[in-house]
Structures are given as C-alpha cells and as structure tokens.
Amino acid sequence: MSIDFYWRLPTHGCHASIRRGSYDRGDWSPLQPGNVAPGLTAQGEDDGYRYIDHLAEIAKAAELSGFIGGLIPSFPNTDDPWVISPLLARETKTFRFMIAFQPGFLDPVHAARISASLQRATGGRTVFNVITGGGGPSQLWWGDDFAHDDRYGRTTEFLDIFRGVWAGKPFDYDGRFYQVEGEQLSDLLSREEVPEIWFSGSSEAALQSAAKHADYYLSWLEPYDQLTDKFARVKERTAQLGGEQKCAIRVDLVARPTEEEAWRDIRIGFENVSDATRAQWRGQPTDSVGAARQSALKPTEAKRWDDLIVGKNLWGGFNLLRGGPALGIVGSYEQCAEQLDELIQRGADAFILAGTPHLEEAWRIGEEVLPLLGRTAATTQNLLEAAE
C-alpha cells in the first residue's frame, strides 16, 4: 500500500513568501515591479505572461517532484478548475487534476460528458473534490439557494445520475431534484473510468452521501485526537451505510532545514500581518460544519504568534498569512515527515499538501520531506500490515 500525495494549485494568486501576504504572483494585486504572471518587461510594460503560465509551472513542479496531482480550488474570486484542467492537460504528463466543484453548478449528464472528455484529454487524470457544504451567503452569489441538507440530497442524486449515465445503457432517474430519461454516455465516452471522488462534509447528511459515492473522505487538519475520532466515526458510519471510505487530509506545511528556521518564518509572517487583519480574524458566516470545527480552534484574538502553537509542530494561525484552513504543520524536514507519519498511523490514506510559495515549496517538500516518510517504525509496521 502507498499513500497518494497531492499538491495544490493556488487559483487565487500566490505569494512569493509566507512572510508577506502580498499577492505578488498573479493579478490579484495591481501590476507593479516585482510581480510575476503578469509581470513587467524591462521597458515597464505588461510582459504578456498570464497567471495560467505560473499555474502550469506549479503543476509541472509537483509532478516532477513526486506528487500525484493537485487540488484546484474553486471560490468566487478564483480562476476555474474546469477551465484550468483542460488548459494544462497537454503540457503535463502524470499530474492529476483534482477539480473542486459543486454539483449544483452543472447539469449531471453534461458533467459526465465533460468528465469523460477530460479523461480522454488527460489519459484518465481527472479527480473530483465534490463540495457541497460551503453554504451561506456565497451560495447565493453562485445562484444557489438550496438549504444545507437539501444540498447533500442533491449531491447524492447528482452523483447517482453521473454514474448512471456512465454505465453503457439508457438510464432513467426520477429524483426530487433531477429527472432524466434514457440518457447515457456514448460508447466512446463511457469507456473512460469514472473519476475518483473525494468528498468533504462533517454532517450526517454529508456522510450518507459520502457512503454511497465517495472514494476518499477529505478533512482539513484538526487536532490529532479529534481527527482520529472523526476518521473512525466516518469509517464506521459509512460502513454501516454500506460504503467504504479512505480518509485524506488537506494541510499546509512550513518545512525548513531546522525547526528554528521554520518558526522564524512563521514569526516574521505573523509580525507582518496588519493589526486590522488580526482584529478581523474571524470565521466567515457559513453553514459549513467543517468551517465551524476549524473556527472553534481559534483564540478570540491573535496577539502573539506563539499563542497560536496548539501542539508539537502545529500552528493555528495559517489563515492569517493566507486564505484557507487555520491549522498547519511547522518544523524541520524530519519533524514534518514525523507529523505526516503520525497522521498516516491515525488513519490518513492520502494527503493534499501545500506551502507558500507553491512553486518552490512543491520542490522542497517533494525533495526534502516526502522521501523521509515511512521511516518511523510504527508507520512502516502500519504500511506493512495494510499491505498484507
């Protein structure tokens, strides 16, 4: 047995350093000297590079340094994964495109068609991160006014149809949200593999849907005992419902040659956060259970960087430095590998890792951290047992 390690494509710009929050890669900040993709020529004009050119480099760095692929997130102000993936299909070789998307945005039969088409364009490198529980005001921004549990019901039906039309014969479905009659993919398209499905969501509605359709259950990093319990609960509950879940963790790393260097970057990064940002440091209004679990970890105010150390090599202030989850791993290469080993022992079957800047850190973590995995006796034993 081996563990799938994904990287992440930052679809809303990137920072040249974890120490500073400026989006100097991509055009999420104004074009100025020192920016890239787009940047400026020696004459001070737009150099013609676009952010997709930088994303292409990150994807290629990830596949070269040992990652199986990358998550491509989708939010209101990101570039879109359904466009990025086919754009980069032909200039990557092994990189799997993990497309984050919400079922409500596409017709399920159309989604099956474009998925099969992308499988054909990539040689089967399409993976889904199906998102359902984002919710709150941003759902209305997307034009989606479904209530929380309804959305999981819709996700289940969406995936019922998605798989149903893939089965090589006419498919009928009469659901609450979708009705189809006699739909099927052509032989040409249905020959492709159904993409692996990664699923998120901590509510009972989510688990019921996951049990039926998900290959991987994805969680942000949480305190380890809490996460161990969650994975055990997910595996038990989905087994009761007749599914089998592998579990995966999405986590950012600050990995440096020494622990001291890693914490120094965190400290400087924290000190560069404006007082206004620290004061505003609160969760967004959302009905997502996962986001609520994360915000429960946060102290009410971030005064000192080391107040946010919540465990050995664990820091809870990552979302001060960039968007996304709060909790991440900070340490030497050895320590980061030990933390990942520990998480594997606790039930993780796969990871989505990230670090800032995403291009250079893909190389660093691929070269310095991933090769150290599996060295602790317990993990090796664990992997051997799983292989038997």
Partner: protein, 299 residues
Amino acid sequence: MTLRFYWRLDPAAEPARGEASARPATGFVPRDVRTASLNRYDYYVQVARAAATTAFDGLFVAYRPESDDSQIVAAAIARTAPRLLLVPEFPATVGSAVYAAKEAVSFQRATHNRLGWALTGDGGEEDAARTAEFLHVARGVHGTRPFDHDGEYFSVKGGGFQAPLANVPFPPVYLSGDDEEALERSARLADVHLLPHAPLDALRGRAETLDRLALAAGRTVELGVIATITARETAEEVAAGQGIAGSYDAVANRLADLHAIGVGHVVLSATPSLEEAYRIGQFVLPRVRARIADLRAAA
C-alpha cells in the same frame, strides 16, 4: 468592415482519426509504438494549428453529445493554437449561467481574451427563453456588482465578479437560426447572428430584417454565414460539391459577394478537416482578401 474567417472543428467527424481506441488490434503489419497518450486531442490540435497557420481568425468547435465536449476541446487546444478566437458551441442547458460566466472569465484571462460563445439549442420556445435568461444572467454577473436576479431558470443574490476576474471582456456571443424568431432573439442578445448559407437575395432580405430588428432594440448585430465549403483548383473537379462550391476563384468571388452585402463573419467547414483547412486557408482566403481589396479600390 473586415471579413472574419472561422474554421469549424467537428469532434464527431472523422471519428477514427487520431482515436487511440480505433487503432487496429490485429492485422496491422507495421510495428505500432503509439501509446494511449497520443490521442484524438492531438488531432484536434492539428486542425486548430492548421487554421492558425493559414490565417483563419477563429475556430468554432461543434457541440456533439456523443463525442468530446466542445468547451473541453476548446480549452485543451487553446495553449497550443495561437492567435485564434476559440468558439465552442453549446446549449444553455449545460448548467448555471453564473458558473458558465465564471468559466468564461477564466478562459479569457488565460488566453488573452480569445473566447467566443456560440449558443445552440433546439430553437423551441423553452430553449429560447432559457437561452435569453442564461445570457442575461451571465452578462449580469460579468458586468454588474452586486447583481440580483430572480427568474424562471436562474436566481442570483449579490452576484458579480471582483477584480481581477472583472477585468476581462465578456466573450462575443454568436447565435444562429433562419426564422424571424431567431432574428428577433439575436437582435436583442447576439453580437453576431449566423445564417445558414442561402442565395444572395435571400441573405440580403434576412440582413435587412436583422438590421431593422436590431435598430428597434437599440443595438448593433453583425451578420455571419455558416456553410460547408467545397473548393478545388478547377470547376470540373467539383462534382456535386456541398455548400459553397466551385473553383478557388469562384468560391472566393462568392465569399467576397457575401461581404459586399454586409456579411462580416464566415464559418466554414469541410472534410477532411485538417487538409481542407490548409486548402481553404492557402488557396481561397488570400483570393477573397485580394478580391475585397480590388472591389474596395474600384469603389
């Protein structure tokens, strides 16, 4: 007004070309070293690059439910087919209008604004209503923030893109159809209306109707023609050719005539797509451009 030429790629045509699953499994004498990573998309790229090399302005990608999706194909070829405007055809039933607009923005950002939209459909009443609302919402979230809409097919609250997503133009919209309803719809919604090829007088009549309807709607809509084309060096080689057919000179004159009655866009297709793109691009398009220049000089 310039005349813009588009080649039309049909993902379902010539289905064995470049198709890994169509390779002979037995009875093929040459040692076959082609891996599965050489595939149909390599052929799509060849067609697109043929059109780019021979000075077409754009490439339409037909919507064929049984084959590769037009929008996936357009994106997959975009980074290796320079310069061309890429115009996938698709119906307004593919999903949410907000999502489609967001995908369009990403495509525009990544390709220096080389996306067009050709909305297709069955032309029925429901399809027409959905297409109209789809375009209203997609343009709304693209150009307005906050954008609210509560309609028959789509509803949005507080929508609209922020910078940098808000910084790119909305793709030009191509609609088609031959009847009065289609022209009326285009008068309200399209940037370009595409007519099927027809005798010059009939096209002139349609063009006048479109102009009148667009004027009434307070808009300008450009006119296009979509046609298959059969062009050969000599007229005698064009036996029962389809669409616009004839010798290179005759076909070029015909296209220049279209331009003279106000046609600004011509979407052409022929099989085999790669070879015919080269043929039309090398032998016909230069003749059309020369002919238009001559007519202009004469006038």
